[in-house]
């Protein structure tokens, strides 16, 4: 059986391109341009899915991207919305959430259990006994739900783009198109976006049997297409509104983040169903859905049907249906007043009877419950929402079109901060106070008459142009009055229920009544208890009726109930779209490729990539062996590490010394040129946040290093304070401009000396000395440092010459057995030296007194950052102290880890381990730990609790640890 009708003007299908696909094992024919639902419906297929909870058969409802009972799986893709997704050749579709197919779904028995599954039942059951919960959870998850997640889904990169315009118009219906044209006429750049495949909104389907308004659409679209200032994007939705008019536009290919100067929201309205028993049967659909089927896809919604309506739109729908040969048995108008005389007469002239003040009391399912066979029509009391069943009439039909009213598609307006008010003239929430730069037009603004919508679009555009500084004449207009487009209470009570309000979650009228009885009578609470609006359609066809029902229950006006919060994204958006391509910047040192080629195991250190250790191919080294060998090379011969990641900042100017005195804890004003000092930085609370070395290169020039991860933070803080303190200082961040490497170990002097014109002898270059000269022919800055070894040289050269100098040093050190070492060995080496790492051994509360750094603090200075806090702290007793410790000789138990706790004699937490490593050189486990001050002196014993709970004895010990070798007689 086919429901396809003869070619219609403006239809969206291409009859020259037939397509074949499979649905639930059945071959189906469609056309290019068909959606899955339209193609299935054209082929007489009425069951498009099963409902989420009761597994009831469902067909078309909105046909507007909200039919969440018609979700499909096609191979690796799932939750495909059949009402809008285009068919293509070879698709193999199955409805989601069925067991045994959509017709024979084994879970349909749940519908019979529905009386025992009232709203909120799963909040109250299954959780006792606790051990049974996993069993029930498994059952519930299998019975409910949507498509199955495919964990092997390929990663398709969906780019996130940026776009800019003067005016973003959301919605390309009559008002949106008019607004776009009017804004463009003012010379403004316009982006016009619409979620439908083609622009036009209701101009492409709501004809009332007369397609003359298609001429209006054609004229508007022609103008838009010809206008260079307008960029029209269709098949895309505006996902949300963010500050400063940032609106993400979601297309199949990805997201475009539109930054607009102003936004016109012309998003229209969502049609709302009347609520009566079995209003969910396949064949019962919204009036606008029936119109879309007819005019866009040339498909008859049904052969013989009725229209139930609570507004004039139902009459228009009836005329559209009659125009394509549908046998419309009756228009059943829930209003006692009925529609206007002209419209009523037109309907009657088409041979359709009109029943005012009547309702569908219930739809009667066909014997297999997969369709509808008749409706029971009764007189209806609008005040009580009761049907008079004593005067019921049965009308045979295979379909029902429903029109009861509209809810504004106002998510963007809400998100932008619009204050909405309930307008009783249209029985709808409308914008009462719009945020700056945001405008509303058309039905979402409560304007329904076609000509008025166009005028309203132009009015909004004029206001937007004025807002953007254009000299335009602002003219107000009065929208033509229309019969109330929405009914205040389109609900029909039924003692047996199954009068569905929310089709996503199978929520009936009685569920709201029960929720209110249980105290969930606030709209936000009711939403969560009943789950109304929490399904994939997010309440687009249910929230308004829910609000009306709650208002009736509480005997309050609708505006007192309010609406739920509208959050972006307003429509489900694939995670892949949100993730986009993903930019994760990394910094590379000049020697990066050398490290990779020599077995460097690269790791992320902040944004930098650094070698943790070197395990050259074929060497057969474990990570631990590599680290111990690298450490040993530094202790016994020579090693070299790439230290380019250190922060490097130059401080120039007549106030340079004075600035560092204020910025750091130590003294720098009297520092000699060519010397270096440790530079410790505190925050205002006296917490240690960084340490580095400050070198005085000239009277008015310092070269300061920072921890690798702190360069940007310290530089920014310096910039801030230079301005705050109004000092004559210029700062230059050389972190990326200079490569750095440290040559360390007893033979390091020989290696460096062989390549430099600087006198690096012990006499000429003691600890902390700084010299400039050539290294391997390159201008270099060389410093005697002792972070990882007693004898070490830190060499800084321009980045672009870094690899050259590194290679030259490796070559020069070959005879001495030089080894590159990575960050893992560096950590062990500094531990052996007894140097703590800021932010690793210290935390966000550690002050210098706790970190054994008193010697770096010049409290007698007039000012430095954090000094005020330290003055308070120095008067208080310490709670903890960072100390170096060693495990007992020949320890072979479970080795504690970093963050394991120090436990006191009362079994209370007394501290924690901050660093611990096995030193092959010392053959001991050594580390740092916070301990109570009384346990921080050398020789004090304390206990560490390991991951498994075992207690390990440790001894506080002075550092560097090399005295342990002496005690062994080495």
């Amino acid at each position: 059986m086919t429901s396809r009708i003869a070619k219609k003007r403006g239809e969206w299908i291409n009859r020259d391109k037939p397509l074949t696909f499979e649905y639930e094992g059945q071959q189906v024919q469609g056309y290019e341009g068909d959606t899955i639902s339209s193609a299935l419906w054209a082929n007489g297929i009425r069951v498009l899915g099963r409902s989420f909870k009761y597994h009831r058969a469902r067909g078309l409802l909105s046909f507007a991207n909200h039919d969440v009972n018609a979700l499909m799986t096609d191979g690796e893709d799932t939750n495909i919305r059949a009402d809008v997704w285009p068919v293509s050749n070879g698709m193999s579709l199955k409805a989601v959430n069925t067991d045994g197919g959509v017709i024979k779904d084994k879970n349909k028995y749940i519908d019979y259990l529905s009386p025992f599954l009232p709203v909120g039942f799963y909040y109250k059951t299954f959780y006792k006994p606790k051990r049974m919960f996993p069993f029930w959870e498994d059952k519930i998850r299998k019975a409910a739900g949507l498509g199955e997640v495919n964990f092997n889904y390929p990663r398709n990169i969906r780019p996130k783009r940026h776009a800019h315009c003067d005016v973003l118009v959301v919605g390309a219906g009559a008002s949106g198109l008019s607004a776009a044209l009017a804004a463009a006429a003012e010379g403004l750049s316009v982006i016009l976006v619409d979620e439908n495949l083609q622009a036009g909104g209701s101009l492409s389907y709501d004809y009332a049997g007369d397609q003359s308004s298609a001429d209006t659409l054609h004229a508007l679209l022609s103008e838009v297409e010809a206008n260079q200032n307008i960029r029209l994007i269709t098949d895309a939705y505006a996902g949300g509104y963010y500050t400063d008019h940032l609106v993400p536009i979601v297309e199949k290919s990805g997201i475009t983040k539109v930054r607009a100067q102003s936004v016109i929201v012309a998003t229209g309205v969502f049609e709302q169903p009347p609520v009566f028993r079995y209003n969910d049967l396949p064949g019962v659909m919204l009036g606008s859905a029936a119109q879309r089927l007819v005019h866009r896809y040339a498909v008859k919604p049904f052969e013989k049907g009725v229209v139930v309506t609570a507004n004039d739109h139902g009459y228009r729908t009836a005329l559209d249906l009659a125009s394509v040969g549908v046998d419309v048995v009756a228009v059943i108008d829930m209003r006692s007043s009925g529609a206007g005389q002209d419209l009523t007469q037109k309907v009657k002239d088409s041979g359709i009877s009109v029943h005012k003040g009547s309702c569908i009391y219930e739809a009667v399912p066909s014997s297999n419950k997969l369709g509808i066979k008749e409706v029971v029509v009764c007189p209806y009391d609008e005040n009580t929402a009761e049907a008079d069943t004593s005067k019921s009439v049965r009308l045979s039909c295979d379909g029902v079109a429903m029109s009861a009213g509209w809810a504004p598609a106002a998510a963007l307006l809400y998100q932008a901060g619009t204050k909405m008010a309930y307008d009783y003239d249209v029985e709808q929430f409308v914008p009462a106070q719009l945020p700056e730069g945001v405008f509303a037009a058309g039905k979402v603004n409560g304007v329904f008459d076609l000509k008025s919508r166009q005028l309203d679009g132009r009015r909004a555009a004029a206001e937007a142009a004025s807002y953007l500084g254009k000299a335009v004449q602002l003219e107000s207009f009065k929208a033509a009055s229309v019969n109330r487009p929405s009914h205040p209470y389109p609900i029909v009570n039924h003692p047996k229920g199954k009068n569905f309000v929310d089709f996503d979650e199978d929520i009936q009228v009685k569920d709201f009544i029960n929720a209110a009885k249980e105290g969930f009578d606030n709209i936000e609470l009711m939403k969560r208890f009943t789950t109304v609006g929490m399904g994939p359609s997010q309440g687009k066809h249910s929230n308004m009726n829910a609000i009306r029902i709650l208002a009736r229950i509480r005997q309050l006006p609708v505006e007192k109930i309010g609406t739920t919060t509208a959050r972006p994204f307003f429509h489900p958006t694939p995670i892949g779209h949100l993730g986009g391509r993903g930019f994760h910047p990394h910094r590379y040192t000049a020697m990066h490729q050398w490290h990779v080629e020599h077995g460097g195991e690269m790791m992320e250190a902040g944004v930098w990539l650094r070698p943790a250790y070197y395990a050259p191919a074929g060497a057969g080294l474990t990570a631990s062996e590599a680290v111990q060998q690298e450490t040993l090379a530094v202790r016994e011969s020579v090693g070299m590490i790439d230290g380019s990641t250190l922060g490097k900042i130059e401080v120039f100017g007549s106030d340079a010394g004075a600035f560092l005195e204020r910025f750091y804890t130590g003294k720098f004003a009297d520092q000699k040129v060519g010397g270096s000092r440790i530079a410790m930085l505190l925050d205002e609370a006296g917490v240690v946040v960084d340490d580095g070395v400050a070198v005085r290169m000239a009277e008015e020039q310092f070269y300061v290093s920072t921890n690798s991860s702190n360069a940007a933070t310290v530089y920014r803080e310096m910039q801030r304070n230079v301005q705050l303190w109004k000092m004559q200082v210029t700062l230059v961040n050389l972190t990326g401009a200079m490569a750095a490497m440290t040559v360390a170990g007893p033979k390091s002097r020989d290696v460096v000396a062989s390549l430099t014109d600087i006198d690096v002898s012990a006499d000429a270059m003691g600890k902390g000395a700084f010299r400039t000269g050539k290294v391997a022919g390159v201008d270099a800055r060389v410093m005697r440092v002792s972070f990882v070894a007693d004898l070490a040289f830190e060499i800084h050269v321009p980045y672009k010459a870094g690899l050259h100098v590194w290679k030259a040093l490796m070559e020069a050190g070959k005879a001495s057995g030089i080894r590159p070492f990575g960050t893992d060995a560096q950590r062990l080496l500094r531990l052996e030296m007894g140097h703590h790492l800021v932010s690793h051994d210290t935390d966000g509360l550690t002050n210098p007194f706790e970190a054994h750094s008193e010697s770096l603090v010049a409290m007698d200075k007039p000012f430095f950052i954090g000094q005020r806090s330290l003055k308070i702290l120095e008067k208080k007793p310490l709670n903890k102290k960072l100390t170096t410790f060693v495990l007992d000789p020949d320890f072979h138990g479970e080795v504690p880890n970093e963050c394991n706790l120090v436990i006191d004699s009362a079994s209370q937490i007394a501290g924690r381990v901050t660093s611990i490593s096995y030193s092959g050189y010392l053959d001991r486990h050594i580390g740092f730990a916070f301990v109570p001050p009384e346990h921080s002196h050398a020789g004090a014993r304390f206990q560490i609790r390991t991951d498994s709970g075992a207690m390990v004895a440790a001894t506080a010990c002075k550092a560097p640890f090399f005295h342990l070798l002496e005690s062994r007689g080495e």
Partner: protein, 222 residues
């Protein structure tokens, strides 16, 4: 050939594509990635070229502008703008008191400035390590729309304006100029981010049907 002393920060990111390398300004440089006609076509569609080897000079400080003018340099009048010198060198004003100069291959203005002593206070030479790229082609707006949040299609880059922005998560300086009759975009970023930015931009460029072009495409060196 002896290894060049200087390496482009992007050099190793080029390596997989096996470019024809040469030394420019002492720096190993990818001279070409493909045949000239292929690169010419790419440059019309969408292309990226590494020009990190061009000599640069940075200067900063309250007297930097006076010092440059005394050295005969024509300065941009306002911050965030640039001006070419008669010999083609670019002078970019990064802030009120900060400048970046970049030579063309055939001139050495930056060398002259490097050799000029600073005898007054308030002038500080700044060591530069920029990764520098030329991006060209009709799809450039599509590329930038994905990697940069600001509107580069409007007047943002007209009239010798300079934009400091974030490109693919990296702070960068951007301008638009005409080179060999072709409208191109210039990008500078911290050299340590250079390999990342090169790989990221090139990945998108290749998705769009473009590709890399060598230094010779713009500067015709051999």
């Amino acid at each position: 050939m002896q290894d060049a002393v200087l390496m482009s920060p992007v050099a190793f990111a080029h390596a997989l594509r096996k470019p024809v390398n040469g030394e420019v300004n002492g720096m190993e440089t990818a001279l070409s990635f493909d045949a000239a006609d292929v690169e010419a076509k790419r440059s019309q569609t969408l292309s990226i070229c590494d020009v990190s080897n061009l000599n640069r000079f940075g200067v900063k400080g309250p007297q930097a502008a006076n010092w440059l003018q005394a050295a005969g340099i024509k300065l941009p009048g306002t911050t965030n703008s640039w001006t070419p010198q008669d010999n083609g060198s670019l002078v970019m004003r990064l802030g009120n008191t900060e400048f970046l100069l970049e030579d063309q291959p055939e001139n050495d203005l930056t060398g002259m400035l490097n050799d000029t002593a600073v005898n007054e206070g308030g002038v500080h030479k700044v060591l530069r390590n920029d990764a520098a790229f030329i991006v060209s082609g009709e799809l450039t707006p599509a590329l930038f729309s994905e990697v940069c949040a600001i509107d580069l299609e409007g007047a943002t880059l007209e009239e010798n304006r300079l934009v400091m922005t974030v490109i693919a998560g990296v702070s960068a300086t951007l301008l638009k100029q005409t080179l060999n009759g072709q409208s191109v975009y210039r990008i500078w970023c911290d050299g340590t981010f250079g390999p990342y930015l090169w790989k990221t931009l090139l990945g998108i460029i290749e998705e769009q049907g473009g590709g890399p072009v060598g230094f010779n495409f713009y500067y015709k060196l051999n």
